[in-house]
Amino acid sequence: MATLEIKDLHVQVETESGPKPILNGVDLTIRSGETHAIMGPNGSGKSTLAYSIAGHPKYQVTSGSVSLDGEDLLEMTVDERARAGLFLAMQYPVEVPGVSVANFLRTAKTAIDGEAPKIRTWVKDVTTAMEKMQLDSSFVQRSVNEGFSGGEKKRAEIAQLELLNPKFAVLDETDSGLDIDALRVVSDGVNRFTGQGDRGVLLITHYTRILRYIKPDFVHVFVRGKVAEQGGPELAERLEAEGYDRYLRESAGA
């Protein structure tokens, strides 16, 4: 049983006109076995939350804490956080020319596990993970994300999720830009991951569409850098019907 705990998190970025606050006191607790959906309008700070948890240097934490099993994640480097059990599926996965997917996956797996995977089972694991995400086996010979379509990049992220099998996964708009078939493939992958029973997911999304395939235990509405409302899956249904306007009006009037 593990816990990812975010307390009163404040984050800013440097801009030309000085520091700009984006997160204004985020509180969120995710236990293993739970799937939390974070929904919100564009610009509400959802992606900033994802990157801040993962440790992207662009985002400065000014106060608050993020801990995984009581350990302070904010004190850790980006790679230490990953080795502690955190995974971020990115909205825009980065191309790394000249580094093959096979080499990348093996290096990452070795780093996460602290030892090299056994060659015989590993090759099979990679092939299986690729097949499940409906990625051709030739992908492992290609450079990481280079020349991949938008959908292929997202599916490759979920293949990594399955192979690295972290304690907690933050999925940053993994559903955006996917056609319905790809959305189903990606959702199946996430459901296999959560189906293990002891994994936590923070699913960040703009649309309710993916929630037809991935059932969240909790839904949080994110507005202007903090959680405006939380509830169960029924909250997502209400958002689908009403949109975010109500929160934006309330927030503006506050």
Binding site: A54, G55, H56, P57, T77, V78, D79, R81, A82, R83, F87, L88, M90, P93, V94, E95, V96, P97, G98, V99, N103, F104, R106, T107, A108, T110, A111, I112, A116, I119, S143, V144, Q160, L164
Partner: protein, 429 residues
């Protein structure tokens, strides 16, 4: 735009001849100024005749005296530390102890010598600068390697040049002739230390496929100048790969012209410049026939104070060269402060009736987003940097196709990386 000013490399007012510099990429740092200079757009056409070839490359000469000792202010010398290279401007004979040549020739390839003036020596290569003229004049007998027509050499031709003293001068000339429809690979490997001044003259016969790999694996105090000049036959393929790691000052020219339509040239380069080192590659592709192709791709990494890389990529598209296709690219990866990369692509175009012409140059540091992505998967910073640098060179290394050279390269990249990026993590099974 018209200029006939080809008598000097530099105009009286000190400006450069017009030159086109485009697609200069982002990320140049204060220590690595963006390539090129302010100036005109893509160079305009000039009137051509047999005597006025290119203002970038005023005709060469075999006469040493036609090439004055450079001051460093000339266009073709302005990036070069001429003081450090001074011994190479002296027309002195070869010190017999300077270098050892070891030549290994696979079955079917004929090895011989060519006296000065004995064809095909001197039919392709006309010295473009003073060291090349000295090498030509002082070399005596030239090594001559002939691949007979239609012969396919299964093993590379190997020429290993081992320097025996940084104060010893060698002048050499090598001639490689690939007969029509033959296939061969030449590996020219330089090691040890010397003042090595050598020309390589290459005749690629019609339909032949020839690869030349020149590896500069010198000790830290070597000086190396040279002109590699190839003429590519009708429908022939020529690949020249320069790999420069060692040496104090290395200044190599890799030039190509065509003997008929349909020839292809691929000029690749990979270099790693350490503190205090000067590594200079100068390319000139003379598209003098229709339907010829050229592709230039040079990549280098720089680290340490005073590391200086120079890349000059000149392409001339003559009036006759209709339907040609050319692209040249130079990328520099700056690993530390205090490095300098000069990168100057030039296109000189005399006909618009072409399939394509382009160039690109980028100089930058590590891509933070790439590092973040790799590290977000648990890979530590050192390992992430190693992956990115390997990836940066991988495209070039992959295209070499000679196992021993690929291995040598990977080992050399590894060795260089240890200096700034760190030693590898515990070996993985």
């Amino acid at each position: 735009m018209t200029t006939t000013d080809t008598s000097t490399d530099r105009r009286p007012d000190g400006t450069d001849p017009e030159r086109g510099v485009a697609d200069i990429g982002p990320g140049a740092t204060a220590d690595s100024p963006p390539a090129g200079e302010p100036g005109g757009a893509v160079a305009g056409a000039i009137e051509t005749s047999t005597t006025v070839a290119s203002h970038l490359h005023p005709g060469g000469s075999f006469e040493v005296d036609d090439h004055p000792v450079p001051t460093g202010r000339e266009e073709v010398w302005r990036f070069t530390p001429v003081k450090r290279l001074r011994p190479m401007f002296e027309p002195v004979p070869t010190d017999d102890l300077a270098v050892e040549h070891e030549v290994s020739v696979p079955h079917g390839v004929v090895q011989g010598v060519l006296a000065p003036g004995q064809a095909p020596r001197g039919t392709v290569l006309v010295p473009a600068d003073r060291p090349a003229a000295i090498a030509s004049a002082q070399a005596g007998e030239a090594l001559h390697l002939q691949v007979p027509a239609e012969h396919v050499a299964t093993e590379p031709i190997r020429i290993t040049v081992t320097g025996r003293g940084a104060d010893r001068r060698s002048n050499a000339h090598y001639v490689v002739e690939a007969g029509a429809h033959s296939e061969a690979t030449v590996v020219l490997h330089h090691q040890g230390s010397a003042q090595h001044n050598a020309n390589l003259e290459v005749v690629v016969g019609d339909g032949a496929r020839l690869t030349v790999i020149s590896v500069q694996d010198w000790d830290a105090d070597a000086l190396h100048t040279g002109q590699h000049e190839a003429r590519v036959g009708r429908d022939a393929s020529y690949q020249h790969i320069a790999v420069s790691f060692g040496g104090d000052v290395v200044r190599l020219q890799s030039n190509v012209s065509y003997a008929g339509p349909g020839g292809r040239a691929e000029l690749l380069g990979l270099y790693f410049v350490d503190g205090g080192q000067h590594i200079e590659h100068r390319l000139f592709v003379d598209h003098n026939t229709p339907k010829s192709e050229s592709n230039v791709d040079y990549r280098g990494a720089l680290q340490g104070a005073g590391a200086h890389a120079v890349w000059i990529g000149d392409v001339l598209i003559r009036k006759a060269a209709e339907g040609i296709d050319t692209y040249e690219s130079n990328r520099n990866l700056v690993l530390t402060d205090g490095c300098r990369a000069d990168s100057v692509p030039n296109l000189e175009i005399e006909t618009g009736e072409i399939a394509g012409a382009g160039h690109a140059s980028t100089t930058g540091r590590f891509d933070d987003e790439q590092l973040f992505y790799l590290r977000s998967r648990g890979i530590d910073e050192t390992e992430a940097r190693r992956l990115v640098v390997h990836g940066f060179f991988a495209d070039i290394i992959r295209r070499i196709g000679v196992d021993e050279v690929e291995e040598l390269l990977l080992a050399a990249v590894e060795r260089e990386l240890e200096i700034t990026v760190g030693v590898p993590a515990a070996p993985t099974a």
